[in-house]
Symmetry: C2
Subunit: 348 residues, 2 copies
DNA sequence: CTGAAAGCGCTTACAG
DNA sequence: CTGAAAGCGCTTACAG
């Protein structure tokens, strides 16, 4: 004991001031200090005054861990995203973090990399930390760990993708409508040979967007033609490259997600093609560089800040016990028509 | 009491199983359970067996908050970045998060938006949470809160930018060399009218890069010419727009950071100019879209994953008490020469 | 090796 | 309104 006290003296940490120190100095009980600091119950003005002064003099800052244990709840929200490098997700993280800290919550960040095992282990970790709530873009919406969290009293709000457990709140995009709109735009411009560059098949966002494309094509009496792909620029570059080398290349492409658009552009560059004349492009999802490529990219953009605010609101309603019923919010994409779309050469 | 028990029954949370439950079931003491679970001290094989079985049967998961309080330390690292939407930072966050979780640490994310007040309040919050350590790209390197954290025994590792407190470890880029190299590249190609598009003046990264540019120009007997700017695409678009409308526009631009490159490209597009012929461009920092713009952008790219790993390593060395002495690691940028640079028209 | 017990630093009924 | 005391769920000397 003496030895370790010795070691401590060399390296670090003067003993932290605790609530008992404040109480002693203010000549009140710990309970009173706690009440003053938490705005709890009415405390007489003079006691309050003494407490506040002692707090200031001692530069007292309550211990979060101790508070967490005593209160039986933390002030931490877990945020689980599929890919934090994806601008959509980093914007979401930023927006959530913004409102969370402003309200006194902290956010623990988890990146699953679209790996269901990682998702599971992150969810376990968040439960162990007894987080207040979880905001997740599930890679595996049927993950039993999601239900376990809810069972354990941790509310879950999913965004971007659904979850199987109906007790979770959900904020999802209308992918089908978006893909139909993207395809419809190209059809209106006179394209017939419209191909769809699909995302990671397992992810439902990808499936729904593919379905929307197919619905639009079928309704127009056209044969759907989709390139199996992944939510990844390099894979897309390769896949689109192959597509463009086929006998009857399409005149337009609907791209399942914005990072993939980058791959498609690379493939076009590789092939020496230019949009919209050689190939028209619409991307579902808005990359940050949409306006600076030549020509600017036509997109269907998700209302990111709105989604983030809705997710936080849903979560906080649960945390504060304001709502019992699960809610599902569906939002629309916004068409941003730019230079990468236009009529096909034949009709020009 | 009875009433709230009632309410609880409706909504949530079966009572969590605690270490005492496990101890009872395994017919051992809590201490033994704790030892088994923490790989601590040698426990007899049969006891260990019983504990493990009880843990499995009860599906016991230790409470993080309780562990944190008892151990007098958390397993959480605070990460404070200037702008999480900036790809450089989201890559850093991702890389740090990756290695942190793999080693059992959690990461609390904080976005300062280059706002010193926000930085202060985040640091305070992280201290209150008694985080294990802090990784920060300081907006205000002289923030007294940084020293306070270190005083309180929380190691701080700064990256991208320095901090005043010499006890902090630091992983910084050699901005001056990078800016000189960028300028040197253009000089070698025959440019003379090279302007520098500067970043937010208060941020030292910006100042150092500007200095590097000036050194290179002065060494070449040329007059430095810099456009005051900010780390922001829109501001840059405007500033470069003005520059290009001046009587003697430059033939080449060194851009202080990658998001600003986006603004510069927009300005060029506004003015109908094309790189590298009308204006050559080098960006310090690598945007994700460097390869897909037309022409691809020449950059000096930071070794992001390396930086993240170094930062984590420095932090963990401190956390585990392996090192007392502050360290400063300086890393170089990597030149990625692409299509946006080339000789000026005159010499072509 | 193992257990009983104290302790981590708060919050919160409970009693007054 | 205020305080004494129990309790949150672990970990960790200490003693055996």
């Amino acid at each position: 004991m003496q030895e370790s006290a010795f070691t401590d003296r060399r390296t670090a940490a003067p003993p932290r001031v605790r609530i008992a120190d404040v109480a002693r100095r203010a000549a009140v009980s710990q309970a009173t200090v706690s009440r003053v600091l938490n705005g709890d119950g009415r405390v007489h003005a003079d006691l309050r005054e003494r407490v506040l002064q002692a707090v200031a003099e001692l530069d007292y800052r309550p211990s979060g861990p101790a508070r967490n244990l005593a209160r039986q709840r933390t002030n931490t929200i877990g945020m689980v995203v599929a890919d934090i490098e994806h601008p959509y997700f980093s914007q979401m993280v930023r927006a959530v973090e913004d409102t969370a800290y402003a309200q006194g919550y902290r956010v623990l960040i988890c990146n699953t990399d679209e790996n269901p095992d990682k998702q599971r282990s992150y969810l376990l970790a968040l439960e162990d930390e007894r987080v207040l709530g979880i905001i997740i873009s599930p890679t595996d919406g049927a993950d039993a760990e999601i239900s376990r969290a809810i069972d354990g009293g941790i509310p879950v709000v999913a965004f971007d993708r659904r979850v199987a457990d109906e007790r979770a709140d959900v904020v999802i995009p209308d992918n089908l409508t978006a893909a139909r709109a993207a395809t419809g735009l190209l059809l209106d411009e006179g394209h017939h040979a419209i191909a769809f560059v699909a995302g990671t098949p397992r992810v439902e966002t990808a499936a729904e967007r593919l379905a929307g494309y197919e619905v639009a094509m079928t309704a127009a009496d056209l044969e759907p033609r989709s390139v199996p792909g992944q939510f990844d620029a390099d894979v897309t570059r390769h896949a689109v490259g192959e597509l463009l080398r086929e006998p009857n290349p399409p005149s337009a492409l609907v791209i399942a997600s914005s990072p993939m658009a980058l791959g498609a552009l690379q493939a076009m560059r590789d092939a020496g093609l230019h949009a919209p004349h050689d190939l028209a492009l619409v991307s579902i999802g808005e990359p940050p560089w949409a306006e600076i490529v030549d020509p600017p990219l036509t997109t269907l953009a998700p209302p990111v800040r709105l989604i983030a605010h809705e997710a936080m609101e849903l979560l906080l309603e649960r945390v504060t016990g304001q709502r019992e019923q699960a809610r599902r919010i569906v939002h629309q994409f916004e068409l941003r028509r730019r230079g990468s779309t236009g009529p096909p050469p034949a009709s020009a």
